[in-house]
Subunit: 198 residues, 2 copies
C-alpha cells in the first residue's frame, strides 16, 4: 500500500520535538482544513528560515541580515550586554521585559568533558566588544546549572582586566507564582541566600 499524502505529512510532523504520532495526525488534519494561503505561509516560513537564517556578526543572535534587529535598534541601551548560551534564550528574556540592552550569544556553555572548551564559545568576541564599545555592564544569563555556572565564572575571570565593566549574574530564587512547598532544596537555599531588605 503506497504511503498517502496524509501519512507523509504525519511522518514529517512526527519528527518535531514533543509531537507524537497522534498529535501529528491532529496537526495534519488541521493543516488539511486550513485556508491554502495559511498553509503556504507556514511552509514558506519554514523554507525561509532555513534559507536565510544566519548569525548576527555582532552578537550571534539569529538574523537574516548582517546584524540582528536588536543590534540595529537605536533605542536599546548599548552600555549593557546580556550573555546567553543560545539564540533561543534571547526570546525568553525579551518576553520578560526586564532587559533593554544588547545580547551576546556564546553558542553553548563550557563543558571540557564534551569538548566544549573556551575557544569553542564566542568568548573572544565578547571580550572584543567589552574592550572597544563603552560597555558598562555584562549581565551573565547562562543557565542555572553546573555548565552555566562554570561558564559564568570563566567569563567573570576573563573580563577581570576590564575593571570599568561591572559583571553581574541573574538571580537565583523561587519562580514567581510558584509554591514553597514544591521548591527543591538547592533553589530554596539560593533563594534564602539572595534575600534582600524590603
Amino acid at each position: 500500500m503506497p504511503r498517502g499524502i496524509v501519512e507523509k505529512l504525519v511522518d514529517e510532523l512526527s519528527k518535531l520535538p514533543g509531537v507524537g504520532r497522534k498529535s501529528a495526525q491532529k496537526l495534519a488534519f488541521f493543516i488539511l482544513n486550513m485556508p491554502e494561503e495559511d498553509a503556504r505561509s507556514l511552509a514558506g516560513a519554514i523554507v525561509e528560515i532555513k534559507e536565510k537564517a544566519r548569525f548576527c556578526s555582532v552578537c550571534f543572535n539569529i538574523t537574516d541580515g548582517e546584524t540582528c534587529s536588536i543590534c540595529r535598534d537605536t533605542l536599546r541601551d548599548k552600555r549593557r550586554i546580556c550573555v546567553v548560551e543560545e539564540p533561543s534564550n534571547i526570546a525568553v528574556i525579551e518576553r520578560s521585559g526586564g532587559f533593554n540592552g544588547l545580547y551576546h550569544v556564546l553558542m553553548g556553555a563550557l563543558s571540557p568533558i564534551d569538548g566544549m572548551t573556551p575557544d569553542r564559545l564566542k568568548i573572544k568576541e565578547l571580550v572584543d566588544r567589552v574592550s572597544s564599545d563603552g560597555v558598562e555592564e555584562v549581565v551573565i544569563a547562562t543557565n542555572p546549572n553546573t555548565k552555566g555556572e562554570v561558564t559564568a565564572r570563566y567569563i567573570k575571570e576573563t573580563l577581570s582586566p576590564y575593571n570599568h565593566v561591572l559583571v553581574t549574574r541573574i538571580a537565583y530564587g523561587l519562580p514567581i507564582g510558584g509554591d514553597i512547598e514544591f521548591a527543591d532544596e538547592v533553589t530554596m537555599k539560593k533563594s534564602l541566600e539572595g534575600r534582600r531588605a524590603l
Copy 2:
C-alpha cells in the same frame, strides 16, 4: 523593529492547534537546526497536502488519486465496510489493527439542530455501495456520543431493506461522550472485537 524570520515562523506555528507561543518558539529553533533537507520535506508535505488532497470517489477518505489507497488495496476484505464520521477516524482504526475491510466516511454526523440532515451526509453513497457491491457487513463506527448514536440508528434503519447485510456497531469499550480521535489502540481494538448486531 522589523519582524524577523524567527518571529515570522513562530507566528505561523502558533496558529496550529495546541501550539502556544512557547512551544512555537521551541519548534522554530528546532526547525532552524534541522538538516535543510528535512525542513524542505516538511514544508513540501504541507504544500502537497493542500495542493493534492481530495476525497476518494468511493469512500470519501483523503487521497491524492481518484480512489484512496485502502479502496485500491486488493488484500482488503471488500465484504466489510466500516462507517466513520471523519477521514481522520480511519487512521485510528487502522492503527488498532482490528479491521481489514473498507471504509465509508459520512463527512459528519446527524444533528438536525445544526442543519446536519441525512442529505448532508454520504448516506446515499453508502446505500449505493451496499446495494451493489456484495457487502456482507456494515460496521458502524460513528462516535460514541448522541450524534454518533443517532446516526448509527438512522443508518441501521436505512439499510434495513438490505437484509443480506449485517449491520453492526462497535462496542462500548470507548468512554461514553468521548471522541474516537483520542482512543488508544487497545481500547479501539477491543471495541472493534466486541461489535454486535444492531
